[in-house]
């Protein structure tokens, strides 16, 4: 063999002339391999394939003119993006090719962004500079960022859009859940604009817990919160019976009595008549707007702003419930529950009604002997270990800092830092899904508890977390669409105190502060007439007949009503126009008649509103049979002209009404002066 090689060597290179020839030939072959490699490259293959694809089409000439030649590149220096995706994805902007579904020739769905300003990897991830399919889409040793699957593609939008975006429901839901399920109470999550996400789950303070409930109930609750209420937010920590026993022992031991010198309640427990009266009072007070109960069919009926009350009688002590109904703020200054100003009899009636909502099975097998000091000590250690104070206020225990990993850049977490369990695919979204779905699959000793989430919810949370990337945190400020930040608006003076006591902001927003369950009151003073407002506060009557959620009656005194009415009428005024600019005399009966025709004809307002309760049926907007006694003419006029300028996001369509039409309709609507009482009767008759 060696001889053969030696003879071949000699034949080729023995003679200098021949050696020169051989070396030249080899060089030529090597040089030729470069254009060959280029000619047979993947991207050229796709460009050729595309050319064949468009050749037979009617618009072939235009398409061929648009077709790129060679490697394409989008460069966005301020974002550090080099993007060659359009080399193969040649038809992204060709709307005439919408019928082509196969990649890489699929057309991009219309989005409000210019491709050449954003590139592809900004939203879809992957490696922009790569020119082969494998390197561009998948993880390699050098690159850790595979392309995002369609399942989580909304997370790309979430890097810049920090607020609610209509086109990304999954991302919106995910962010909502991170706050609603209390994830951000243990995990720090700083948005790209530096705002730290706050929990919205409202876990109760445990400072006076022994006043509120028994150790037995606490045991059953901590052991399995969803057994008490399937909609409970509190997760299952999977604790042993002994651990739960010790935690309850500690919680009772730390509990401080609320107002130790307060007189004991004089109200007697309810009777059967109370029970019936309680049903009515519960209904009249619209408790179901915020609290759900389970009906006979097992369905939850009612809102979710407050806890479910199906088994409240098993949980609450009657004395506590009475004190709570009298004034919830005494027990928990941060509660969203309003101070109803119930009298003693009403408190007793409601207490009796609620205490009858029991589940005797829940505590049937819970027997706890008196706690020993060791158990209390162990309970305290467990409360520290599981970070209970991250969510609940507990005497003598501070909210732990940096208790769980920071999630601000979770979407860029390097694979090298993840220990995947055996059956989880090695991708970042799969890791997050697996972690949220079953945290302890990553190690039985992990502290993260088991949440009760649907697959859709897990998907949404994963999408929201995938949006928390390095790119989001470091990109230029002008790329960010800032998030919605609730204002710190606080009404002043006596009216302000009253509004806080009534927890108006739990449902209404004013000047950017407050809930969205009820109408925004920022311009309420311009909108309504003083007398109507005072009557309404005395006895709120719904304007929308079909709504389940309604304004409760707060049993306000005349003085309180005066304070509130004066304040609203004086302070909550729009600067856009004068509320008295259209005097009653300016609206003639002839105009009103013309308005009636417009109402029922040209604008068909009756399809959404009711003026004549016998003939009209529209359910979407408020009933209008008492507009003349409720609203100001100027408000009605400007509302008809441009509703969204007075209340952003209103469903009332802007009809671009002429001044004449708007005035005529205003005249017609202002002539509707049915008093509240008679309108109530009309509804009852219906």
């Amino acid at each position: 063999m060696r001889q053969k090689i030696s003879s071949l060597w000699h034949t080729l290179f023995g003679d200098p002339g021949r050696a020169f020839g051989v070396v030249s030939l080899m060089l030529l072959v090597l040089l030729a391999s470069v254009p060959a490699k280029n000619h047979f490259s993947e991207w050229r293959h796709y460009q050729n394939q595309y050319q064949r694809l468009v050749r037979g089409r009617a618009e072939a000439v235009t398409l061929e003119k648009h077709m790129p030649q060679g490697i394409q590149q989008i460069w966005i220096p301020e974002q550090g993006v080099v993007d060659r995706c359009t080399t193969c994805h040649v038809a992204l902007k060709e709307t005439s090719l919408r019928d082509i579904q196969e990649q890489p020739f699929r057309t991009h769905p219309p989005i409000p962004h210019n491709l050449s300003e954003f590139g592809c990897v900004t939203c879809h991830r992957g490696q922009g500079p790569a020119t082969t399919v494998e390197e561009a889409h998948h993880t390699t040793l050098a690159w850790e960022q595979p392309i995002l699957s369609a399942r989580y593609v909304e997370s790309g939008c979430g890097q810049c859009h920090l607020n609610h975006l209509t086109g990304t429901p999954k991302l919106n839901e995910g962010r909502h859940l991170l706050a609603r399920e209390g994830c951000v109470r243990c995990h720090m999550l700083t948005m790209a604009d530096g705002v730290v996400m706050q929990g919205a789950d409202d876990p109760p303070s445990l400072v006076h817990i022994a006043d509120k409930t028994t150790r037995e109930w606490m045991f059953a609750w901590i052991k399995d919160p969803q057994r008490y209420s399937s909609t409970a937010t509190m997760p299952n920590f999977g604790l042993s019976d002994d651990d739960v026993r010790d935690i309850t022992a500690f919680l009772v031991a730390q509990s401080a009595p609320l107002q130790p010198n307060a007189p004991k309640s004089t109200a007697t427990p309810g009777t059967a008549t109370d029970l019936q009266a309680g049903t009515s009072l519960y209904g009249e007070s619209f408790c179901a707007s915020c609290h759900a109960t389970q009906n006979a069919a097992g369905n939850k009926v009612g809102g979710d702003l407050g806890p479910e009350l199906t088994k409240i009688g098993t949980k609450a002590k009657p004395e506590w419930l009475q004190a709570w109904l009298r004034n919830p703020g005494d027990y928990d200054p941060d509660t969203k529950m309003p101070h109803y100003r119930f009298d003693d009899k009403q408190v007793a009636t409601l207490t009796a009604f609620l205490m009858a909502k029991k589940d005797d099975d829940l505590l049937a097998n819970v027997h706890l002997p008196n706690a020993t000091p060791e158990q209390v000590k162990h309970g305290r250690a467990l409360v520290f270990e599981y970070g209970c104070a991250s969510c609940h206020g507990i005497n003598g225990i501070k909210k732990p800092e940096n208790f769980a990993p920071d999630l601000s850049r979770e979407g860029s977490k390097p694979f090298a830092q993840i220990a995947f369990p055996a059956d989880v695919p090695h991708t970042l979204p799969d890791f997050i899904v697996a972690k949220v779905r079953k945290p302890r699959a990553f190690g039985p000793s992990l502290k993260m508890p088991q949440f009760t989430l649907t697959e859709q919810q897990i998907d949404a949370i994963t999408t929201a977390l995938m949006a928390q990337t390095d790119r989001a945190q470091t990109q230029p400020v002008n790329m960010r669409v800032a998030g919605y930040h609730e204002s710190k608006y606080q009404p002043a003076g006596k009216a302000g105190q009253l509004m806080n006591d009534l927890r108006c902001f739990s449902c209404h927003a004013i000047n950017g502060h407050g809930g969205d369950m009820a109408p925004d009151l920022t311009w309420e003073g311009t909108s309504v007439q003083r007398k109507w407002l005072a009557d309404f506060l005395k006895n709120p009557e719904t304007l929308r007949p079909t709504l389940i959620r309604r304004m409760p009656k707060f049993n306000l005194s005349d003085t309180e009503i005066n304070i509130l009415t004066d304040y609203i009428m004086t302070v909550y005024q729009t600067p856009a126009f004068d509320r008295d600019e259209i005097p009653a005399a300016a609206l003639t009966p002839a105009m009103a008649e013309q308005g009636r025709e417009l109402f029922y004809g040209k604008y068909a307002c009756q399809s959404c509103h009711i003026v004549d309760s016998k003939a009209d049926k529209g359910y979407i907007g408020p009933a209008l049979w008492s507009v003349g006694t409720r609203l100001n003419a100027a408000w009605v006029y400007h509302w008809l002209k441009d509703p969204q300028s007075l209340r952003a996001g209103s469903l009332e369509p802007d009809q671009h009404m002429t001044d004449v039409d708007a005035r005529a309709l205003t005249a017609f609507l202002m002539s509707q002066k049915l008093s509240q009482k008679s309108s109530g009767k009309q509804v009852a008759k219906k």
């Binding site: 579904q101 769905p109 219309p110 593609v153 004809g601 399809s607 529209g618």
Partner: protein, 242 residues
């Protein structure tokens, strides 16, 4: 043994094993067999691309007398990227098999197949169809929920009471393809932007052109086209490829 004989033996073995595999995957282990498979629920659902359908898809296996057959084999299949959890199994005590479905990354209609096998091993299929919405259609879907569904959907939800039955005119649900498919994109856009009067229809349909943007309306049109049944056909309905 001569090398070529070894080669022939190896090649024959390869051919036999390949032929065996090409018969397709074996049916799931079953204890009974039916003669028909029907859709019970879960067809015609709408979800974003790559997202799970809200409801599981349920099929039922029946015998020749239309009685449900427990323990019969069922397998789901569909275009690439569609994920079934689980993809196969046997029917439960009421003869039904239920699966949760994640649609793939392309917008359009997904034709899914649920199969069972009769006692002779013959495959019986039922076709189902689901709709995956792309970005623009999803935007339209959200706008529909906010603005249109109150009148165009006769079902009320906890947060949205339907106004459908209170109207003089019949506001058709967007899934009813026939009336909407007759309208061109331009007409549909006009109808939304300028209201019913613009096309000689009821004034109960208000003009939305001053409240919604042009791209909002385009998104709504795109959504209406996506969910229409029968499908809206311009250049042929786009089915996701296998």
């Amino acid at each position: 043994m001569k090398p070529w004989i070894t080669c022939v033996i190896v090649a024959t073995a390869l051919v036999i094993s390949c032929t065996h595999k090409s018969k397709g995957p074996a049916q799931p282990t079953a204890t009974a067999h039916g003669t028909a498979i029907v859709e019970s629920s879960g067809g015609k659902q709408v979800a974003g691309v790559g997202s799970p359908l809200d409801q599981p898809v349920v099929v039922q296996v029946n015998d020749k007398d239309n009685n449900p057959v427990p323990g019969a084999p069922v397998r789901f299949s569909g275009p690439a990227e569609t994920v079934f959890t689980p993809a196969e199994g046997v029917t439960d005590s009421s003869g039904q098999f239920s699966t949760n479905i994640y649609l793939g990354g392309s917008s359009g209609r997904y034709r899914l197949t649920a199969s069972t096998w009769d006692s002779s091993g013959k495959r019986i299929d039922v076709q189902l169809e689901e709709v995956a919405l792309g970005y623009q259609q999803m935007l339209g879907h959200e706008l529909n929920e906010e603005y249109c569904a109150r009148c165009h959907d006769s079902e009320s939800t906890a947060l949205r009471v339907s106004n459908h039955d209170n109207l003089g005119a019949n506001a058709r649900p967007f899934t009813e393809g026939d009336p909407f498919n007759k309208l061109s994109d331009a007409d549909l856009t006009d109808l939304i932007a300028h209201g019913g009067v613009a096309l000689g229809r009821s004034a109960e349909m208000p003009p939305w052109g001053y409240t919604l943007t042009n791209s909002d309306i385009a998104a709504l049109v795109s959504y209406i086209r996506a969910v229409s049944d029968p499908p809206y056909r311009t250049k042929g309905v786009v089915y996701v490829q296998k």
